[in-house]
């Protein structure tokens, strides 16, 4: 859903695990950016109707982009920076 601009200089890329996939991330990127740049348009599904949701407000107040960290904590993907070896889940 988003494309990285080439004119932005980034450090060396690393890989994070999202569900069963490995995707590329750069230091400074939020999990939301990493997911959208990898073409993962749907970030979560609602509990009630399983309706697809994704990046919406970008500033940490709508809570639509929640993902689950390895320790079970739900975090807002737009406010959480990607780190090497991170493992996240996008579904229960």
């Amino acid at each position: 859903m988003v494309r990285r601009l080439e004119k932005v200089k980034r450090e060396e890329p690393f890989v994070i695990q999202v569900d069963n996939d490995f995707i590329i991330a750069y230091e400074g990127e939020t999990l939301a950016t990493v997911l959208l740049a990898a073409g993962k348009k749907i970030i979560r599904r609602t509990l009630k109707n399983k309706s697809p949701r994704s990046y919406y407000c970008g500033m940490g107040i709508c809570n639509e982009c929640l993902v689950i960290l390895e320790n079970g904590t739900r975090v807002r993907a737009c406010q959480t920076f990607a780190l090497p070896f991170m493992k996240i889940r996008t579904r229960e």
């Binding site: 990127e29 500033m59 107040i61």
Partner: protein
């Protein structure tokens, strides 16, 4: 627990300027902000460690920010970045998440929580690919990415043209702009801009840029529906009359991958509500503003407000309001005399009145026109978090429950993770058709802990937390 003189919540223009003003007069100041860097939404910069040759968007307020930063470097201000405030208790104790379960006990608090984009509900607004204009700005300015595929920009006002231009300059495929107002309406409203030639030139420049790129601007048009099974595939726009009432039969289909929209801003009142400050509902803004006196002190003694959370006024007003608060806090803490504070504040208030026109301009541009509510159908989701549709809300209202707190309890609307930020504005519009203006103005809701989501395990520690402050959390 740490004792501080003055804690500022929010590191945008209002918060920073208050911090500088108070600190330069000898007050011990702590500024708490959620982002890794100061500046808030308006001064947002590229995330470290990214490097860019020039800013990815024209930062109109860069100079103001540079001035603030240089003032900050001359003062000894404590900054707690990447820190979420999740509670404000009755005795003004503030709970933060970093480090976990820390408490700060300030003598004075400034809440400068800013604003967010007015949500406008239409069918399909929850689909992936539909996002706020601000969300797109953040992706570009701070993350160095642009939306891929066909991008449609919608809403009303100058921000549409600015963002569309930034996107075009960075290679995005902008397929059009849907402007709710007519060109004449837009021009009429832009008249006050002669006061700021800078803004006017910029506006014309962006407008011309879109023309040059042959980007169609559809005036009198609004998004009727966003379609797609799993994510956005197509947008149906509809033309509207001067009151923004959709005209049947004027629908237009546009294939799009990303739809970003903005219909103005609504003051953020999560913290002022949590702190039990008194509020007034402002139906024009489709939200609430805290009540405050000429020194920006709220109904709760020692708790102040500044910036867009007091009403949408932009950066320059926020900076002046912050200075008024900083001076007042210094005075109340005995750093300067009342006479000196009065002198400084009356000067600042004069300066503030010179910027009122801009606030009026913004209010006119983004004034809510009830015609937009005609876009709602029974199946439109009003509350994104709890997935409450208009049908449910209408039934409750037809049964005679016309107050926000009643509707909240009966439908769960507003009880979700966003805490009503994205449904109350629409609900206020709906209630505006049922309640008198006086009734609407007195509508209110109560804030709840935690303001931002926290892991549950945080709360298993809340007992020890309560013992520490010897107080029940605010309810």
């Amino acid at each position: 627990m740490e004792n501080r003189d003055f804690v500022v919540i929010g590191s945008g223009p209002g918060g920073l300027s208050a911090a500088v003003a108070a600190s330069s007069l000898g007050v011990e100041v702590t500024v708490i902000g959620e982002d890794p860097k100061i500046g808030g939404q308006i001064f947002r910069q590229i995330a470290p460690p990214f490097i860019i040759q020039e800013p990815l968007s024209d930062s109109q307020n860069r100079k103001i920010f540079e001035n603030l930063k240089s003032e900050i470097s001359k003062n000894d201000i404590q900054f707690l970045n990447k820190t979420v405030v999740w509670g404000i208790f009755d005795d003004k104790t503030i709970a933060i998440d970093n480090p976990r379960n820390s408490l700060i006990k300030p003598k004075k608090i400034l809440i400068a929580e800013g604003a967010y984009e007015t949500p406008v509900a239409f069918r399909g607004w929850t689909l992936p690919g539909v996002m706020t204009l601000g969300g797109v700005q953040i992706l570009l300015k701070s993350q160095g990415v642009v939306p891929d595929g066909r991008v449609l920009v919608a809403g009303t006002g100058p921000l549409l043209y600015l963002t569309a231009s930034h996107l075009l300059n960075n290679g995005a495929n902008v397929i059009g702009v849907l402007e709710a107002s007519s060109l004449t309406q837009l021009m009429k409203k832009a008249v006050p801009l002669w006061r700021s030639l800078d803004l006017l030139t910029k506006g014309i420049f962006y407008f011309a840029g879109l023309k040059k790129h042959r980007i169609p601007i559809y005036f009198n048009s609004v998004v009727k529906e966003a379609l797609g099974s799993e994510y956005l595939e197509e947008v149906v726009s509809v033309e509207m009359n001067e009151d923004w009432i959709p005209i049947v039969g004027t629908e237009r289909k546009l294939k799009a991958d990303v739809l970003c929209f903005n219909f103005g801003f609504v003051p953020s009142t999560s913290f002022t509500h949590l702190a039990k400050c008194e509020h007034t509902c402002n139906p024009r803004l489709r939200g609430w503003v805290p009540k405050f006196n000429s020194r920006y002190e709220t109904s709760r003694e020692g708790i102040f407000v500044a910036g867009d959370c007091t009403g949408i006024g932009g950066v320059k007003m926020a900076v002046i309001e912050g200075k008024i608060v900083g001076t007042e806090v210094a005075c109340q803490l005995g750093c300067i005399s009342e006479i000196e504070a009065d002198k400084r504040q009356s000067k600042l208030r004069k300066a503030l009145s010179r910027h009122k026109w801009y606030q009026n301009f913004l209010e006119k541009i983004y004034a809510f026109r009830p015609g937009l509510l005609k876009l709602l159908t029974d199946e439109t989701i009003i509350c994104r978090c709890e997935e409450v549709k208009l049908r449910t809300i209408s039934e409750i209202i037809d049964d005679g429950y016309c107050h926000i707190e009643q509707i909240k309890r009966l439908t769960r609307m507003g009880m979700g993770r966003c805490q009503g930020r994205f449904c109350y504005p629409t609900l206020l519009g709906i209630l505006g058709q049922r309640l008198s203006f006086e009734e609407l103005v007195s509508e209110d809701f109560s804030g709840r802990l935690p303001v931002k989501p926290l892991p549950l395990k945080f709360f298993s520690e809340i007992e020890s937390l309560q013992q520490k402050i010897g107080n029940e959390p605010s309810r």
